[in-house]
């Protein structure tokens, strides 16, 4: 049966060329895919199978083209020789493609495992990155908190008005805050760099041993009062609290002390006790004075009556009565002073210009026998009159007492300076300063006591300062004294100001 050969020839030859071309560009595409993802095993497989198809296409197509050429050129014998080789190559190329294809599933599984592993790795990596970022954030936050806390603690340490002191386990000072420098009197270098023993601060070594024993036994000490000594020998009373810190993060054991200066507090307590004592004495004196005042009046009255009846011709009785009258007057003066001290006498209060009072007193005393040769310096507040509410007579008496005392202390030679000022607390101050020998520490505590005097017997009653104290206290003020032996004395009166209009503020 005869058929047209053209279709077979055309399809065979053109198909062979097409196979060669398409398989070649397929292999190129597979190579591009492979280059895109070198780690992808599936794309490696596609490149392998593409290579297999290309080998197959080339061997088969060349075989077919050669066959057609040989047949058409009547060289069938040659094709019969070449044909088996071409067929064998084709067979091998089928086998190759088949073998490669059979590996596809394994390739795919391997690729999936690799992808899964990579995903797991990426997930772990992301977790690690997140953890790392979180860790950094946490570190930043903790560092900020630590810095804030450290700053706060540092401020407490630096700004504390009480002394905060740290020693090592050998009781050597390793840290002290700024408040501790003026309190102890040592420099920071002497204490910290010089590894000073805390015992050096104590006035009495046995007191330190007692406190140390208590700390060793109980690991703390609370509000213990003791005395410190400064390098210049000055002592001060302190209150100590101490705790043990066993440290953290490998730090050594340390002792933390909080030391409070109670010197002023103790002084105030003493002054208050003194004030209470004076108040009690005042009450007692007032009672006694009141009881004595009337009999003294009777004695004086009868004495003066007898004096009138006695003639000048009986000098013995007259002289005796005069002596009695004189001593009764002396007694009445004492009683009057006592009553003034306790303010039992009544006088009207009003607006008093202190500058005027001081000026009057100075003018009055300038011719006093004890003050005649003494230089008087008067520094009156220049801006305005210093008004207080009170009894002018009593205040005048206070000024007289202070100035006479100063004159006595100066022993007729020296300077008395009187200064009047006003402070920001609406208080008026009068300072009476002398450059005399000063008051001994022993007498300082007694000067406001009634009947205490350093004058010879008969020269003073010992009531001047106590009366002055009572008057100033009754005016809502205070009177203080500062004195050092050999450097003079300053008495300072502080009174509430009444303002310019005379009303107490």
């Amino acid at each position: 049966m005869i058929f047209s050969y053209i279709p077979i020839l055309a399809v065979d030859v053109l198909g062979s060329f097409a196979m060669i071309i398409i398989s070649t560009i397929s292999l190129h595409k597979a190579k591009m895919l492979r280059e895109k993802h070198p780690a992808n095993v599936v794309y490696l497989y596609l490149m392998w199978i593409g290579s297999g198809f290309t080998i197959f296409a080339f061997s088969r197509s060349f075989g077919h083209i050669l066959k057609q050429l040989l047949i058409l050129s009547s060289n069938n014998e040659i094709w019969h020789i070449i044909g088996p080789y071409s067929g064998t190559i084709n067979t091998v190329s089928f086998m190759l493609v088949g073998l490669i294809t059979l590996f596809f599933k394994q390739s795919w599984n391997m690729n999936r495992k690799i992808i899964n592993s990579r995903k797991a790795l990426e997930k772990t990596h992301l977790k690690l990155v997140h953890l790392n970022q979180n860790l950094e954030q946490q570190v930043i936050e903790r560092t900020e908190m630590l810095t804030t806390s450290e700053h706060k603690c540092r401020r407490i340490f630096e700004q504390s008005l009480d002394t905060i002191l740290v020693t090592d386990c050998q009781w050597k000072i390793i840290e002290i805050n700024p408040a501790g420098i003026p309190m102890t009197g040592y420099t920071k270098e002497e204490m910290v760099t010089g590894e000073m023993h805390i015992k050096m601060l104590f006035d009495d070594g046995r007191e330190w041993e007692r406190i140390q024993g208590h700390i060793n036994a109980h690991e703390f000490i609370l509000n213990e009062e003791t005395a410190f000594v400064r390098p210049n020998g000055e002592t001060l009373l302190v209150m100590i609290t101490c705790g043990v810190d066993y440290g953290a993060f490998g730090c050594a054991k340390t002792y933390h002390f909080i030391i409070k200066d109670i010197n002023e507090k103790k002084m105030m307590e003493k002054q208050m006790a003194q004030a209470e004592k004076l108040a009690a004495l005042g009450e007692l004196s007032a009672g006694v004075a009141h009881e004595i005042n009337n009999p003294l009046g009777i004695i004086l009255g009868y004495t003066q009556l007898l004096l009138k009846q006695e003639s000048e011709n009986s000098p013995t009785n007259h002289d005796d009565l005069k002596i009695i009258e004189k001593h009764v007057h002396a007694c009445r003066n004492v009683v009057s002073d006592l009553l003034t001290f306790s303010r039992k006498n009544s006088m009207d209060d009003g607006r008093v210009n202190l500058n005027q009072v001081v000026d009057d007193v100075v003018k009055f005393l300038i011719n006093h026998p004890d003050l005649r040769q003494i230089e008087m310096n008067l520094n009156l507040w220049p801006d305005q009159p210093l008004f207080v509410t009170g009894n002018e007579q009593e205040l005048r008496q206070v000024m007289i007492n202070l100035m006479i005392n100063a004159g006595y202390a100066l022993e007729k030679r020296g300077t008395i300076t009187i200064t009047t000022t006003q402070n920001n607390h609406n208080q008026v101050l009068i300072a009476v300063k002398d450059n005399g020998p000063g008051i001994s520490q022993e007498n300082m505590e007694k000067i406001f006591n009634p009947f205490f005097t350093t004058k010879p017997v008969g020269k003073g009653t010992g009531l001047g300062l106590s009366v002055s104290y009572g008057i100033i206290s009754n005016h809502g003020g205070d009177i203080t004294v500062e004195s050092s032996p050999g450097k003079g004395t300053i008495f300072t009166i502080v009174l509430p100001s009444a303002g310019e209009d005379g009303d107490r503020i």
Partner: protein
Amino acid sequence: MKQTVLQYLALSFTAFVGTLIPDLAHATQMHSGSEGIIVHQLGHLFFLLSMVTLILTINGQGLDRERGWRLIQYSALFFILWNLVALAVHFLDNQVAAVDVTTLSVWKIRIDPANNSRTLANFYYILKLDHLLCVPAIAFFYRGLSTLLAEEEG
């Protein structure tokens, strides 16, 4: 896997070299003349089965959802059809000698079926146009790869 592939390639290469230098294998079994066509047919069959495996594997892995792999599946399908055609042609032509083909000229060809069946002659003539299957097969493979590459680049 690379090592395994290399082992197979080495084996195939040895077989190929053996066919280039044919000689009597005195110490081994003698082989009849039809052995070559049977091996070739087995090659086609192996190719066909590998293409079936490829289609099933692509389905099994769910890759057929991607257009590129679907095109590769079509390629495998056309290769299966081409292998069937090739198997049939080789069977009729070389194994059972059911047809005798003579090229008369560029224009004419004579096909003589053994049983003078016109149908067999026509069937054989159509089977000889096998490039109509293998060219689309390789074209689908190309399109599949192009699509996969485009998806990777996109």
